[in-house]
């Protein structure tokens, strides 16, 4: 009986929260809010907030055309699915406040590599289409990944060191110790030494999600969305969905790394309200989801929408230079500070 | 006196390496390899040498604690090393011949299709 229950529970994690359904709804909603806000900032009316949902369902009703020049049909069709699935699984590993669905299975270095899989699926799918636009897009996408990797590595190493030296382990990569530390001592962003790392991480978010001004890889006006140039119908819809979910992933990764420790407050609030047992658990998970989503919205607005509205697209070599100098420099400051125990 | 052997052997090794580094003629490169090899052989033999020792050749029963002879192991090693040196020379010269056929030159500065 209990096996069935836990199997159902895990299935719930995968399919509902923080898995598919949550990713689907929250991701597309984030995307809609982003589009609406950018429009408002640019004094346009903008699409309705639910427009990404309409787009997705519309694309799912369209025909999928495989170009005659496509070198591998299988890769062309499978790439979107693998990308989406790996993103959803990745979302399961990122702890949501104190709620850990599967965070005991992977640490922050693993997350770094798991983040590559959706991008790689995108790249291989585009490469398999045989389009020269995809070739150019692939080149730029890969350079963007290289560019983001260095600051991201520095951020993760400094977090690992900061938490490790504070807890006396010396070093940790595991999410659960990072969460436990933040629950006990407050969010990491409150530490002065971690602020440059947090800023660097904020800079990485638009690069990883491929939004303005770091969207040279899919520059619509120039290389016709690059990797997606030949995609149509449901596969295109799934790529768009993955793109939206990646916003959620990156922002919730930021929340997990730097804004942890808020979940404890929510649980005590629920306890204050006089709930207990399963009901309390359910309510607090729901509340956590809502608070998480709100935080993600704020982060999206700050890093993606606002930046999008005020900047123009950078050239690919400028993107690379920006990340390897400004963002990496900031993260390096944090690493050195954390190293010397500040 | 054996010190001179040591100095000479290291001099030969260094001379061999110097030849390999500076000479642009492939045959001279091969000669450099051989010179370095001879240096090593000289070193090995010198290490096994005992002043006043006899040749380490004994039949059954002849060997007693009083017999004084040079260390036989380095001699065995030298033989092996000489054989290997001969192989190196043969192999590299055959490669030089083939290279001459293909590239039309034995100048190292022109045999550089693989680079970068």
């Amino acid at each position: 009986m209990s096996i069935v229950m836990s199997a159902l529970q895990y299935l719930g994690y995968i399919l509902i929260f923080p898995g598919f359904l949550f990713c689907f709804l929250a991701g597309l909603l984030l995307c809609g809010i982003d589009r609406k806000l950018v429009a408002k900032m640019q004094k346009r009316v903008g699409p309705p907030i639910l427009q990404p949902f309409y787009d997705f369902f519309k694309l799912c009703g369209k025909e999928t055309i495989i170009p005659a020049a496509a070198s591998s049909k299988t890769v062309f069709l499978m790439a979107p699915l693998v990308g989406l699935a790996s993103l959803v699984v990745l979302q399961l590993f990122i702890p949501v406040f104190n709620f850990t669905a599967f965070s005991g299975m992977a640490d922050i270095i693993v997350i770094l590599y798991l983040l590559l899989i959706p991008a790689l699926a995108n790249i291989l799918g585009g490469a398999a289409s045989g389009s020269p636009y995809a070739g150019v897009g692939l080149s730029r996408e890969m350079v963007t990944i290289i560019a983001c990797e260095l600051p991201l590595v520095l951020v993760l190493l400094s977090v690992g060191k900061a938490v490790g030296s504070a807890t006396g382990e010396g070093l940790t990569f595991s999410f659960s110790s990072i969460m436990a530390y933040q629950a006990a001592h407050g969010s990491l962003i409150l530490k002065a030494s971690m602020i440059p790392a947090a800023v660097a991480m904020l800079m990485v978010i638009p690069g990883e999600t491929g939004s303005h001004p770091f969207d040279a890889a899919e520059a619509e006006t120039e290389i016709c969305e690059g990797l997606l140039a030949e995609y149509s119908g449901p596969p295109l819809g799934i790529f768009k969905l993955s793109h939206a979910i990646k916003m959620l992933t990156m922002t919730s990764l930021f929340v997990a790394l730097f804004l942890g420790g808020i979940g404890g407050g929510i649980e005590s609030l629920v306890a204050l309200a006089g709930l207990s047992g399963a009901a309390a658990g359910g309510v607090s998970v729901l509340l956590e989801a809502i608070v998480l989503f709100l935080l993600c919205v704020v982060l999206t607005v700050v890093c993606i929408s606002f930046v999008h509205a005020v900047t123009a697209r950078l050239k690919i070599e400028q993107i690379f230079k920006f990340y390897w100098t400004v963002a990496s420099g900031l993260a390096l400051i944090s690493l050195v500070l954390a190293w010397y125990g500040l | 006196m054996i010190l001179f052997n040591y100095i000479a052997s290291f001099f030969l090794i260094i001379l061999g390496f110097y030849t390999i580094v500076t000479k642009t003629n492939l045959v001279k490169t091969v000669i450099g390899l051989s010179i370095a090899d001879y240096g090593v052989n000289l070193l090995i033999i010198s290490i096994g040498f005992n002043p006043g020792g006899t040749a380490p050749i004994f039949t059954w029963g002849e060997l007693n604690p009083a017999s004084f002879f040079v260390d036989p192991i380095p001699q065995a090693l030298t033989l092996t090393s000489i054989v290997i040196g001969a192989c190196v020379t043969a192999m590299s010269l055959s490669l030089v011949m083939k290279l001459r056929e293909q590239y039309g030159t034995i100048d190292t500065r022109e045999i550089r299709r693989l680079r970068g």
């Binding site: 291989l124 020269p132 260095l150 940790t172 | 370095a36 090995i44 045999i111």
Partner: protein, 640 residues
């Protein structure tokens, strides 16, 4: 003393290879016989070593075998010895596996060549040489084996002597390789002058207490000698030339096996013979050379336009990881370094075999000329992708598992020792990994994806024997990635334990108590080896989750008309043409060496400098070797 049968297995596993080489010279003209002998020899060699897993790996036994039962008399080890501890067996298994797969591949890969009999002779000589090197318990025999393997490797590099650059590569390799061998011989003989023994165990007992200028110089010579065999920077151009020019089945051995023999030599030297690894200065030189190899070679690889040459540079980059991890002198470091060495053999073998398949079917490995081959060679593409994901460290393949352990051990070492230099090594290692991914994306796009050139319309898939060989490697790549705990428990940790228990090694050879009696208080005590992991990763659970998620996505997608694709029925239908901004579609392949222009542009100074530096002139490479030798000798003389 009662010797069990299995104590003879190490010498059997070497001799069957040499015997096979000899028999092929006699009967090599008969095609089926030749294949039968070669396959039998490599299978037997692998079988003998697998039979040793239980006593050596699991029971921790160390096999000391005296040829002709000439056990040491009067404290002097005169006879020739084989000594097989877990470290030797680990490398032996690695070699036997690679040789076996490469042999299976060769049967169909070499079928159009002349003089295949000589090929197999040299092939088995090479295999026997490496096997003898790692199982030997005698410094001079190690030198002999090094010479045999260098010779066989040079001859095999030049085997297809009409191929572009084969002779040139072979000559360069011969010159610098022989300089390395000369160094090894000089170092060996200098140690002999000090200790009057060539037995490895006896030397290990004697030398640490008797360090003087001569032994330090000998150490530097031996270190550089084995470095040329491992091809670490500054010897990497030779690797690039030799791997690129040799037949693919030989590139597998040169990259997967020869480099490992160099690493093995360095471990034996620094951990056993001189026992200097606990010194920070010694760790510095290994980690430094490792990180430089890692980074320089990955950037060199990014600039290549030849498939095999690119793989060759990556090979040295991965060896850099191994050397760095081994140089940490922590249990976790050595264990993860060996794990990565193993994985490197598997995935790099797979990649070279895939490159060989492409070369055989299309006649070129130039990235600028190929494209779209996945249409014609789907199996090779899939297998190549497994290898590419493994080397780039994409979970759940094996490269990730070992790299992840390497990062942990480096960063933990940094924290433990308080030395910020190791932090930068960690960063270099992580950045190298993503650059590796980038260059394999380049290969995928330039060779297997993108547009298919007209002249390759008639290319077909390679025969089943070659696919079988590649699949063997691919399966091993997946398995070792999915079950890292099994690999570490049964293979790498026993080997790492052996590295940290030198006294056992000495005593197994010369009788218990020998190490203590010779070395006195300096005898290395048996250590309780602990493995610190600072992160966690459960690949099987992750894969399970991914499969569930993928199933769910697929079901939903198929329900949503995902599978109702429309493909081109008539070739004239313009609907299925590629989008060209309204213009008429033309053949256009984006690929080749400059694919990552955005990255290379920022580093153009560095890349131009590197291109000038790797001039291709053998004198320059020899000069690098001499300079490296001089610097290492000077460094060692200063610090010891």
């Amino acid at each position: 003393m009662m010797t069990s049968l299995y104590q003879h297995f190490p010498i059997f596993s070497i001799m069957v290879l040499f015997l096979g080489a000899f028999l092929i010279v006699l009967f090599g003209n008969v095609k089926p016989l030749r294949h039968a002998i070669a396959l039998l020899a490599v299978t037997a060699s692998l079988g003998f070593l697998i039979a040793l897993v239980k006593p050596v790996m699991l029971n921790g036994e160390i096999i000391a075998y005296w040829m002709g039962a000439r056990a040491p008399a009067g404290g002097y080890a005169i006879g020739i010895a084989l000594e097989v501890d877990a470290l030797s067996l680990f490398f032996g298994l690695l070699i036997a596996t690679a040789v076996f797969v490469s042999c299976v591949y060769s049967i169909q890969y070499m079928r159009f060549d002349d003089n295949v009999g000589q090929y197999y002779t040299l092939f088995l000589m090479l295999a026997g040489g490496v096997m003898g090197l790692v199982l030997s318990g005698d410094l001079f025999n190690m030198f002999i084996m090094v010479e045999i393997l260098t010779f066989a490797a040079v001859a095999l590099t030049a085997f297809r002597n009409t191929a572009k650059g084969a002779l040139e590569a072979a000559f360069k390799y011969l010159v610098v390789g022989c300089m390395g061998s000369t160094c090894i011989l000089t170092g060996t003989i200098m140690l002999y002058a000090q200790a009057h023994t060539l037995n490895f165990a006896q030397l290990s007992a004697f030398i640490p207490g008797h360090m003087n200028t001569a032994t330090v110089v000998a150490f530097a010579l031996l270190y550089i000698g084995f470095s040329t065999k491992a091809f670490i920077v500054p010897f990497h151009p030779l690797a690039a030339d030799a791997h690129g020019a040799a037949p693919a089945s030989i590139s597998v051995l040169i990259s997967g096996v020869l480099t490992k023999s160099g690493i093995y030599g360095i471990i034996r030297l620094s951990y056993f013979l001189f026992q200097t690894m606990n010194l920070g200065t010694m760790q510095f030189i290994l980690v430094f050379m490792g990180s430089v190899s890692m980074f320089v070679c990955v950037t060199m690889a990014l600039a290549q336009h030849d498939f095999k040459r690119l793989l060759a540079f990556h090979s040295i980059s991965q060896i850099g990881y191994v050397l760095t991890a081994v140089g940490l002198c922590t249990a976790m470091g050595v264990s993860s370094g060996l794990y990565h060495a193993m994985n490197h053999t598997l995935f790099k073998g797979l990649l070279f075999l895939a490159a060989g398949a492409v070369l055989q079917q299309t006649g070129t490995t130039d990235l600028g000329k190929l494209g779209g081959l996945s249409k014609k060679m789907p199996w090779t593409t899939a297998l190549f992708l497994v290898g590419a994901f493994s080397i780039s460290g994409i979970p759940p393949f094996n490269g990730f598992a070992s790299k992840w352990m390497v990062y942990q051990s480096i960063y933990y070492k940094a924290v433990e020792s308080g030395n910020i230099g190791f932090v930068f090594v960690t960063i270099i290692a992580l950045v190298t990994s993503v650059l590796t991914l980038a260059s394999f994306v380049k290969v995928s796009q330039s060779v297997f994806f993108g547009r298919l050139p007209k002249e390759y319309e008639n290319v077909t898939e390679v025969p089943w024997g070659m696919r079988l060989a590649m699949s063997l490697f691919a399966i091993l790549c997946v398995l070792t990635g999915l079950f890292p705990n099994v690999v570490t428990t049964y293979l790498t940790q026993p080997a790492a334990n052996a590295v940290f228990n030198v006294a056992n090694y000495i005593n197994a050879m010369l009788g218990s108590g020998y190490a203590e009696s010779v070395m006195g208080a300096a005898a290395p005590a048996a250590q309780a080896v602990t493995y610190v992991e600072v992160g966690l990763w459960q690949p099987v659970s992750w894969l399970l989750l991914l499969i569930i998620a993928l199933l769910a996505v697929t079901i939903v997608a198929i329900a949503g008309k995902y599978d109702s694709v429309s493909e081109s029925a008539a070739p004239a239908d313009s609907k299925y043409d590629l989008f060209f901004g309204g213009e008429e579609s033309v053949y256009s392949q984006v690929g080749g060496e400059d694919l990552f222009w955005g990255f290379k542009h920022n580093w153009r100074g560095y890349f131009n400098f590197m291109h000038e530096l790797h001039s291709g002139i053998v004198n320059d490479y020899a000069l690098w070797a001499v300079v490296a030798l001089a610097l290492v000798t000077l460094y060692m003389l200063i610090v010891f």
